[in-house]
C-alpha cells in the first residue's frame, strides 16, 4: 500500500500507522477454496517532497491465522484433534517517485520499485505445507490530493505493477530444488534462494491493483491520520493454476514532520 504523503508537504515526514486487514488467498496449488485471515497490520513510511519530484517510501506488514471455513475435528489413535489454522504473512516494501501533472487537478504520476513477499502455510490434518509468492518489479503510481476545508487533507492513490520478477511455489510445492533450498532448516539464504526462482511477468499473467485513501489533520509537528486501502491480485502459473490475493484494511496513525500547506 502506498504511503499517502507527498509533494504538498514542505518538509520530509515520517508516518507510523497500525490497523487491521482482511487478507484472503486462494492458491490452486493447494486448494480450490479461499482462505480468509483477519490480520493486524503495521505501516512505516517516509516522504521527501521536492520542487519537481517527490519520493515516498513505505513498508507494510500484516499477518494472521486463516481458514477456509469453520474448524472441524478428527481423531488420531482415538485422540480428538482440531484442524489447526493456516497462516498468512504479507510484507511489502515500495518506493515511488512522483511528478506533478500540469492541469487543474493536483495530480501526481510516477514510478517506483516494489517488493512484495507473501507466504501461506496451509495446514492439513497433522501436517502443513509452506507456499510463497514474491514479486520484485516496477510499479506505476498515481496520487490525487482532494481539497478539504481548513487543515484537513485527503489523498487518493492508485498503483499497479508494470512488470516484475515473480517467484511462486513450484507446481508440486515440495520439489527437489525447493527441498535443497530449505535444507536442514534453511535460513536467510533460503529466502533469496526461493525468490531467485521465478520469471519476468507483466499483465498477461499477473494482474494487480492497489487503491487507498488517507485523511490527515495537518498539524505543525504531529498530524493524526486515518486511511483505508484495498488490494487485488491474480496470477496465473505456467501450469494453469491461479493464485488470487485480496486485502482490505483500515488504519490509524500519526505523521511526524512535514507542515501544512
Amino acid at each position: 500500500v502506498l504511503l499517502l504523503a507527498g509533494a504538498a508537504l514542505a518538509a520530509p515526514s515520517v508516518d507510523l500507522a497500525l490497523g487491521a486487514r482482511a487478507l484472503t488467498r486462494r492458491d490452486e496449488a493447494f486448494s480450490p477454496r479461499t482462505y480468509v485471515a483477519p490480520a493486524p497490520s503495521a505501516r512505516l513510511g517516509a516522504s521527501v517532497p521536492g520542487d519537481r519530484w517527490s519520493h515516498r517510501l513505505s513498508l507494510d506488514l500484516a499477518m494472521g491465522s486463516a481458514r477456509s471455513g469453520p474448524a472441524w475435528s478428527f481423531t488420531v489413535d482415538g485422540e480428538r484433534r482440531d484442524t489447526p489454522p493456516s497462516s498468512l504473512v504479507e510484507v511489502s516494501l515500495r518506493e515511488a517517485t512522483l511528478h506533478a501533472v500540469p492541469g487543474p487537478l493536483p495530480l501526481q504520476l510516477g514510478l517506483g520499485p516494489a517488493l512484495d513477499v507473501s507466504t501461506a502455510t496451509f495446514a492439513f490434518g497433522r501436517g502443513g505445507v509452506f507456499t510463497y509468492f514474491g514479486t520484485i518489479g516496477l510499479d506505476a503510481a498515481a496520487r490525487l490530493e482532494v481539497p478539504l476545508p481548513g487543515p484537513h487533507r485527503l489523498d487518493v492513490q492508485l498503483g499497479a505493477p508494470l512488470a516484475a520478477w515473480v517467484a511462486r511455489s513450484p507446481y508440486a510445492l515440495n520439489d527437489d530444488r525447493y527441498i535443497d533450498t530449505i535444507a536442514a532448516g534453511g535460513g536467510v539464504g533460503a529466502v533469496f534462494g526461493l525468490l531467485g526462482r521465478g520469471r519476468v511477468e507483466s499483465w498477461g499473467t499477473r494482474q494487480a491493483v492497489r487503491a487507498g485513501a488517507a485523511w490527515t489533520w495537518s498539524r505543525r509537528v504531529v498530524s493524526p491520520t486515518a486511511s483505508v486501502d484495498l488490494a487485488l491480485e491474480r496470477q496465473l502459473a505456467p501450469w494453469g493454476g491461479v493464485l488470487v490475493r485480496r486485502a482490505a484494511g483500515v488504519s490509524v496513525g500519526a505523521r511526524f514532520g512535514g507542515s501544512a500547506t
Partner: protein, 326 residues
C-alpha cells in the same frame, strides 16, 4: 473487534456453493492424477481405479458413501503417504501396514527402555530422540527425522572414544525432513556419497516430471571407525527411509530387521472442495544405481523378525548387538 474483522473478512471472501459428492470424488481423483508421483513405480492404473469407483457414487451421495468410495479407491495405492482426513472420522491411511498396524507389536518401546537401555535411556530433542547405552554399545533411536538427527554424530563420537559399536534404530521412524539426516551424515564421510535420486511432478499431465536430482551426502567429515547397525521395520517411512538409503551407502553399516515401508517420495497435502484433506507423494525416488524401492521397501542386509513368542527379547536388537559387539 476480532469477530467483527472475521465477519468482514468472510464477507470479503464470498461464499461458494457446497460441492456434490461426485464433484468431490472428481476433485480427489484429479488431485492424484495431476500430482501423484509413483504411479508407474507402484504399477497403478489410475484410469481403471476411476472406472471402478466413480460409478458406485451417486451425485448426491452423503458423506458416509463418499468416504467409503474415496477410501476404497485410495486403498488401491497402498501408499503410506496417502492419507485422508474428514470431520469426525479417524485419520485414515491408504497403506495397510499403517492402517491396520500390521506387526506394530514387534517393536516395543517399553521393553527397549526397561530391558535394554541403561537407566531407560535419555529423551532428547523434544522427545524425538532416545539415546543411551545397551551392553556397552551406543544406541540412538530417531522417532522422526529432524534436528534430532544431529545426535547421530554425537553418538558416533561417544562410540569411537570408547571403541564401542553403534546402533541407529529407525524402527517406527515416522519421517520428517531428510535433509537433516544428510546434514548429520556429512560428518560420517570424507567424500561425497551418492545416495538416491528423485524427480518431481512438474505438470498436470500424468508422467510429467522435472529432471532427476542426484542427492549425495557431502563429504565433510571422516569415516566412522566403529561398526554400525541400522534397524528398520515396516513402519520406517518417508524421510526415515531416505535416511536408511543414506546409511546403507556408507561403509561399515549393516541394515538389520524388516524392509522399510516403501513410501519414500516426498508428500504434500491438498484440500478438497468439501474441506476434506488428502495427502499424496509427488515424486519418484530411485537408489543411486536405479533401484526402485517405492512400494517394496528398502531391504535389510540381515532380515530379522521379532519373535512374538518371546516378548521379553527384542530379536532385532539382539542381532544388532551381536554384530556391533554389545
Amino acid at each position: 473487534m476480532r469477530p467483527v474483522l472475521s465477519a468482514l473478512a468472510l464477507a470479503f471472501a464470498g461464499c461458494a456453493p457446497e460441492p456434490t459428492a461426485l464433484e468431490v470424488f472428481d476433485a480427489a481423483w484429479g488431485a492424484f492424477d495431476a500430482r501423484y508421483g509413483p504411479f508407474d513405480q507402484r504399477d497403478i492404473d489410475w484410469d481403471a481405479a476411476r472406472a471402478t469407483w466413480r460409478p458406485t457414487l451417486a451425485p448426491a451421495a452423503g458423506d458416509d458413501t463418499l468416504w467409503d468410495t474415496l477410501t476404497g479407491m485410495l486403498a488401491e495405492l497402498d501408499d503410506g503417504h496417502v492419507q485422508l482426513y474428514a470431520p469426525g472420522r479417524a485419520h485414515w491411511y491408504a497403506n495397510a501396514v499403517y492402517r491396520e498396524r500390521i506387526g506394530d507389536e514387534r517393536f516395543d518401546e517399553d521393553r527397549l527402555r526397561a530391558a535394554y537401555l541403561d537407566g531407560g535411556g535419555e529423551d532428547l530433542h523434544d522427545d524425538t530422540v532416545l539415546a543411551g547405552r545397551i551392553r556397552g554399545a551406543e544406541y540412538v533411536w530417531l522417532r522422526v527425522i529432524g534436528g534430532g538427527a544431529l545426535e547421530l554424530e554425537a553418538a558416533r563420537q561417544r562410540a569411537e572414544r570408547r571403541g564401542a559399536g553403534l546402533i541407529v534404530d529407525l524402527r517406527h521412524d515416522g519421517g520428517g525432513d531428510f535433509t537433516w539426516a544428510r546434514a548429520a551424515l556429512s560428518a560420517w564421510t570424507d567424500r561425497d556419497v551418492p545416495v538416491f535420486r528423485s524427480r518431481t511432478r512438474s505438470g498436470p499431465v500424468r508422467g510429467t516430471f522435472d529432471a532427476w536430482t542426484d542427492w549425495a551426502i557431502p563429504g565433510e567429515g571422516a569415516p566412522v571407525q566403529v561398526p554400525v547397525a541400522v534397524l528398520t521395520d515396516r513402519f520406517t517411512i518417508s524421510a526415515g527411509e531416505r535416511a536408511t538409503l543414506m546409511l546403507r551407502e556408507l561403509p561399515g553399516v549393516t541394515l538389520i530387521g524388516e524392509p522399510t515401508n516403501g513410501s519414500i517420495a516426498t508428500m504434500i497435502g491438498q484440500e478438497l472442495p468439501n474441506r476434506w484433506y488428502v495427502t499424496l507423494p509427488v515424486q519418484e525416488v530411485e537408489g543411486p544405481r536405479g533401484e526402485v524401492w517405492e512400494g517394496l521397501g528398502v531391504p535389510p542386509d540381515l532380515e530379522v523378525l521379532d519373535d512374538l513368542a518371546t516378548p521379553e527379547v527384542d530379536e532385532v536388537l539382539e542381532a544388532a548387538l551381536a554384530l556391533v559387539g554389545g
